[in-house]
Subunit: 175 residues, 6 copies
């Protein structure tokens, strides 16, 4: 049995994540989905809590019929780069390869001799958390950038409203 | 849909955990299993890593046919008791009640007005991680204290050997 | 007896703080003044230490004849937003409401079901720590933006000089 | 104007603290009361939160008519002894001397060239937090070991019950 | 015997550091070289690990024939400015003076009554870590800004390549 | 060129350390001496600061004529065992093997595939920091358990007095 590890912040989960996960599931028996910056929430960069991100990812994995094959694990930041892969290894079940489009993630796992596979970003100019969050701030449509189940969940928990309040905060707060 | 939260250290998973989980699954649609002291491992109190504990719990939930209903989340300690329930709320999906036999867990969640349900320990003198770890140290049989699938997994990863080396360490290291 | 909680960074204490505190004292028997980012000092954003901020606030509360009704508590940052209100609850005596003009503070306390009251900023374009610090950097007059007692205290401890040295540092230090 | 600094954990405030504080107030214009291990609570060693300890100390200082002269500051532990006095200096207003009966506190402040005054413990075999907590555990009378106002406050917040639950927890939890 | 303390981040070691170290060695029997932000690495601001920085500094001190007189100590950040000099004092052997061109370092050590000596930066527009890292990013020549031994070492460990990958990362990663 | 890594707490440096270091120097070109629990000091378990331990080890390495071959690096604890070897790798220059008599150190480095060499303790019943500290507490002779240069240095900085005050503290402080 083989497992591929995939780490993202999922703020929110978008179609780019979906493509990556589909590929990893094709090439492996199971996928470990690490939720990065798990300790952060209610910030513009990380509006969702780790708990909400677990919920959102479970919804989409269930819709793909792949919940049984998914191991979803929140990974708090450690702010000490060389040590971060060891924390990941500690927190998740055994895996064979790391899939990532993130240059730093690739570099750090390489240091520990772990097999890395570079993922090409699909439509990176659109499928990106920061792009979606900016669209929400500007009041633009972002529905087609995320799976429909994700869109419905985010609506239910007031994702747009939260981001708007966080932006209001950022613009008001003194530096 | 209702969810019950259950938090343990699972060092290792034993029959007492099994009874609690069965009850929670009877009374709820889904169970959130929080893995406490997730950051600790390779210590006598916490020999297994969080990753190994996730693996072990998945094995037993699968054997119960309840993997789809189980949300397994590692929870690192925060060493600031009043703040700990907020970290749990942050890291796990929404839940309605906390089930626990741990007096401190009950006290702390009560402070935040969360519904708590006291779980009676079954055969506490036997079904307890520390009892199992002591039996291993003394070379006594512990097989009947854990589900068989757990026993096989722990054998595979060298659990007994690890505990014995940790004890050797503790006896040698200068205080 | 009722208490209102008010949290600021007080870098430095200015007339906007004064208006807020007066209102809270009118509507409550006592005020809890939480000093945010208490662990930070000697930075451009937070030049004063928590100890200096306590001193400064005591001076102004004394001048208002309200020292007995004031509970001043430094609150170190926790860098985990969802958990921050729990730390505040831990560090300060019981209170009934949070007064704040800070959108994030309001959002976070709402999550815990605590009563929040939105404070309107008075003359926000002037009464703001960052505005005062910028005026000092540019050598502009800032005396009328803070209570006179505060101005005298800040002069005594060399506030202007400290800010200028911190700016010199920031401009020189390599990024 | 002179200030003396006094640091304790106040679990709970007892007559020994009262004697020390009286002496410091006689020898100084103001007293700074540092609440040590401020981040800890709901443990057998530190059952009360920092907020509750502030409340309790305010009650007794008010009864002494010395609230105006008291600066009460919670001090979280730093777990790096050499650095701890610097954290204290950061968090409290300027002071001239440290009063303490604690050998480590005296040693550490000496390293920074700060004037220390050794306080003799009065009736140390009785006036001690751990003695009081043990009496509560055994169901013995402890009323005469603390100021009456403190006793009434602790009764109101359920101090005895909390300690008994914490002991129950400690005896049950697996090591 | 006298010792001068010098603290830098050494990302990388450049000729400006060399001038400072020569002067300190002329005025003292030994030099303590503190490596700041020791916990950071694989970031654009701090590409090298503490271990690599120790190696690089040893190479240059050896080439100067001054290895015996050099005490090289990594100093992790503490993110609490007032407390930072105490951490330095804790981690390094006794010293008499701090040499620095860094305004904040001078300010903080002054608070603790430690003798500080301001170092003038030599050719600051060139001899600066950030300038060198920017030249690498732009593909410009930087060889003459660092001692030759340092250049050879950095080439051997792939310094340019690392910086380019880190920049690639920074430009791609979502904010 | 080969390097061996040796990690100890050196509270204080004793003849057991000396034997180990001599062997490592025989088998390698250079030795890296990691000072564990570097953040701790003024405790019974770790009375000396990291700075004092660096000084002490330099004295003995100089007396062995091996200062040039010694790389002495303080290593703060991380309280997350699986991650600790990565921190060591981050903080020290490249090495080929870890020498240790500490079972946990061996286990943890094995997890990362690093070559470990088990060192036999020489006269472990005597050559042990805790034994020496206990002798000092009881007023027994300990001079012959440490190199003479170490003994002289510890006398100069008041090691015995410090330990006695720390013991006084521990016996007085309330638990």
């Amino acid at each position: 049995m083989t497992r591929g590890l995939f780490i993202g912040r999922f703020q929110p989960f978008h179609n780019g994540h979906l493509y990556a996960i589909r590929r990893i599931l094709e090439e492996n028996d199971e996928i470990i989905i690490g939720i990065g910056s798990a300790q952060d929430s209610y910030s513009i960069k990380n509006p969702l809590t780790a708990g909400e991100r677990i919920e959102m990812i479970r919804i989409i994995m269930k819709s793909m019929g792949a919940l049984d094959k998914s191991i979803i694990v929140p990974i708090p930041d450690i702010f000490e780069n060389m040590v971060w892969p060891a924390r990941v290894i500690e927190l998740v079940p055994k895996f064979e390869k790391v899939y990532s489009g993130n240059e730093l993630v690739l570099m750090l796992f390489e240091q520990f001799g772990i097999k890395t596979i570079r993922i090409k970003h699909v439509s990176r100019e659109e499928y990106q958390g920061s792009v979606i969050r900016k669209k929400i701030i500007k009041g633009e449509d972002w529905r087609n950038l995320v799976p429909n189940e994700v869109y419905l969940y985010l609506n239910k928990i007031g994702f747009e409203e939260r981001i708007k309040r966080l932006v209001k905060h950022a613009s008001e707060v003194e530096v």
